[in-house]
Symmetry: D2
Subunit: 204 residues, 4 copies
């Protein structure tokens, strides 16, 4: 009766498994190095995470872990967002790389000298082109484009009716960023206990 | 250099794959039936999604898709949260099932007669016990408990240092709820195009 | 010792008192008529409130009251923001009328045919010019401009060190919009009891 | 036609004017001293602002100014909320002083040793009783209580139909906290230019 729920979960998991091999190690290494560097300068450098819609939620989930790791981190859309400058890093998440308000915000950040890390399916998008580091995460995005659709539909056999709109990008990005957390824990010498000690004790 | 990122992604994906078999089909069928029923009564019934921290973000991602499916849906923590009553449904997400403020809010909802769907690793938790429908999603949660840890650590071989705190629950819940979306699309006769037509056209 | 707190409160109150006479009755009447009309079409028309920073918070406070009055109302920045169209109304709040992301969002709304109500100190700003109805609320805004400063500083004798940045605009807009609520209660035949009956019963 | 809008504004302004004399200077002085002390320990002490509904929005508006003043400040309900401890200060805003989730959160904060400043109409409420510093701000609150109503209705002649629910408390608290900002600017030696320099340069 509800096997479609689990079939879809398997399709997503299968997509992510294949996506793992598609992600450019070189760009990920640059992203990790930059984040480690920010940590070393803590108190002077901060991170601003931004994304619209479900991509924004994926960004927020990552931002929470950065907080637990000890970063000065902020999220665009929160009440508290400090001024950013040239010592700061922006992490912008957008499947299409074309979400207008995110591109506008990333441009403003670049103008003041912040470093931009883009997480997107389209390195050649407006967001991808202005970023200093681009990690391409496969995924069909809201606005379908030829080749990417081929990747998603033909090779992986994912059907539109199971994973609508940006679902594959968002789920893959979520799990990729949890992978980044593991690497940062290792590089910064943090244990789970350290993260727990930074977790909010008053939570709504 | 950064292989830990991808090793972690594989561990998470492996965990989710095994979790698929653990999820109780009967409870999922009841959840889907209730949500289909709410849709049929649209305009009179609404859904309120709630969760704290990263679980709250997973709930928000699901709530956005419910909006795209045509539901009257709200998120606790948004500015706009209407009064709820006996015709309404609350979806509460908490790995431990013990997050104080979520339990408090779910109790308040139950008191006014709303139906409660709990997504949790612990059916025997305060949240699980008060819910009408409980979907157990495996996952180690913030407060480790014996048996569950065994599931996570021994059987699945997931190491604390790779997936800290509620990560496994949150990622599994995210993908489970995307599976629920696929089933709802089918049951409500919605295509991806229908969802796109409901997607926000002004997005921050 | 702390008399400056109360002196400032008196200055703000004095500013608002004088501002009351400055607000264009004709534009306010058009705003009220449009909002009454939206209410009559409830279920088919909705309201989207938007503003950045503290102006956004003033907008959210107004949006909550619109919810209590029975409107279908949404706030840009909430998780749940539906697609808007030509039957909908946008209320955009910006002291300067130049906040880039609000202007961008209002332009997008205008493009799909929504009616725009602007609450701003500058009718001749980008936001003011694109709006269908503009209610000018006096106030010094972030980017000082000659004449307005004269109004704020010379006539009213408000000192920069007491009410920095957009404070006067924000406080005046907050109380103006509470005035609009009173008028809407009257026009829609709502009592305080009706509003209380719509107030959230589960609140974070 | 719309004179009720302006009559209401005058009623609110008149209420605030009288409220100015009601506020206890001693408690305000203690609040300011504590906030100045937190500033001196910046980097080690932080502020967490909390409130539900419109009171929460008033708190957020104050939190933004604390950010502009150079504080480490956070808002309950934002994505980014760090763990708090005994060196930290909580500012809790609730007209009734009985909002369940705020009382619960304030209790949790007290338990870890944080100092609590309550802004409420009811010093003898659960929130008022647990706070270290209580600033009473007059206002009718959601749940009417005899004497306070007398203050609001008879002495001030404010009519229920003009300022429903917590309106008077919220507006008075907003302007009171803007008065606190002026005093803090003076005590910390900050100019408007200093605040502008801390204002977000990327704003949604």
């Amino acid at each position: 009766m509800v096997e479609r729920v689990f079939q879809t979960m398997r399709e997503i998991v299968s997509f992510i498994t294949r996506a793992i091999d598609e992600i450019d190690r070189e760009q990920v290494a640059r992203m990790i190095d930059l984040l480690v560097d920010v940590y070393r300068k803590n108190g002077r450098s901060k991170i601003l995470v931004m994304g619209a819609g479900r991509s924004g939620l994926v960004g927020r989930a990552f931002a929470m872990r950065l907080l637990h790791l000890g970063y000065n981190v902020y999220v665009l859309g929160d009440t508290i967002v400090p001024r950013i400058g040239e010592r700061d890093v922006v992490i912008a998440i957008s499947g299409s790389g074309s979400t207008k308000l995110i591109v506008t915000a990333a441009e403003a950040a670049k103008k003041v000298g912040a470093k931009i890390i883009a997480i997107t399916s389209y390195p050649d998008s407006p967001l991808g082109r202005l970023a200093d580091i681009v990690v391409r995460i496969p995924g069909r995005t809201k606005i379908s484009r030829g080749e990417e659709d081929y990747f998603a539909r033909q090779i992986l056999g994912i059907h539109e009716q199971l994973v609508p709109l940006g679902t594959l990008f968002e789920d893959t990005a979520m799990i990729f960023l949890d992978g980044v957390v593991a690497e940062l824990m290792h590089r910064l010498g943090k244990t789970e206990e350290d993260l727990r000690a930074m977790h909010a004790n008053i939570e709504l």
